[in-house]
Symmetry: C2
Subunit: 201 residues, 2 copies
Amino acid sequence: MAEAVSAEKILDTAAGMIERHSVEAFSMRGLAEELGVAVTSIYWHVGGRDKLFDSLVDRLLSEMAHLPVEGETTVECIASLARSQRRALIERQHLLAIAHERDCTPMLFLPIQQTLAGLLAELGVTGTEAALVLRAVQVQVISSAVMQFSAVRGAKHEEEDPSLWDDDWPDQELVQALQSPTDYDALFEYGLSALLATLPG
Amino acid sequence: MAEAVSAEKILDTAAGMIERHSVEAFSMRGLAEELGVAVTSIYWHVGGRDKLFDSLVDRLLSEMAHLPVEGETTVECIASLARSQRRALIERQHLLAIAHERDCTPMLFLPIQQTLAGLLAELGVTGTEAALVLRAVQVQVISSAVMQFSAVRGAKHEEEDPSLWDDDWPDQELVQALQSPTDYDALFEYGLSALLATLPG
DNA sequence: ACCTGAACACCGTTCAAGT
DNA sequence: ACCTGAACACCGTTCAAGT
């Protein structure tokens, strides 16, 4: 007389497991066990592994439909939107990783495409050029999140070996900066403001 | 009396298989079969799956040690180096994907870090700022390659559904541009020049 | 030093059978 | 409509045994 299993609950549990132990550790059989149910009943509710992951990505997409935007100027609004999107993606790193490994990252462009298009239009940026800028911002946001996730996870077994740098390399401040861990937030801001600087106004 | 198996040959064959059929399709047993050898002998020569992938990533790193650089000005040299690195990564997309999924992408910074540092020094950019710019360029290059690979593979089952855009959206040129496939080369150049525009000189 | 087969503990998925 | 167990065809890895 266990609680009923629904597609909803299955997806929730799967997302939770993945968030706790990462995608590689996830298995259908493990999920079934966590749910207290036979593996095969998962297939009835949500289909196989692929379908399950597709559904998780769909969820991620719809969760990103309404992101907060604020700012005095139009450019600040664009920056704010980009930051919101990035934060949302990082909060759901594991789902983002799934989307990436399933080659769905371009879909992540969609939820905020229209808002971004509207803001660019306010600046007088339209047509093919607007498409280029829009996609450049999207790639900046998404790839920043994708890379940061991968890098942070890899940071554990990463010991920057200083043997590559001569001891008499002239710029020791640089060497030291490169040996401390990368600040991906700062990198993102740097790249973003470089992009926004190309805009009029 | 089959040909001798060596660690070299195993790695070559593995890389070839992965390049032809992608990582997901790769298996130890399949590799053994292709080599005409028992699975277990692979373990003697190169170790398990993880070790094998590590070795492949190491190869990728050493292959990227000497990239062509040319340009009249220092800024052009930086751009040329970035393009070389990107091209090299895209030519080895599958190895790049492995490096990414193993969280080794930051290691890809290393091969050209020193050259880049030297070029930045020529521009008078040093210390912490140089580290920031250097990493920004690296992230731009690597993430561009990572995203492009994922996007191109996903493009097959991607039909841009136009239902999201109203038929009376004012900027139809933009809508049409967004419905044609993304030009990742152009996006890369756009982002790169935005980054380089922040440099002095 | 090199290669083997058997065996273990896992997978995802299908399908006929139950209620 | 929902859940099950058995079975299939795969995995990666270990290990004792061969030459």
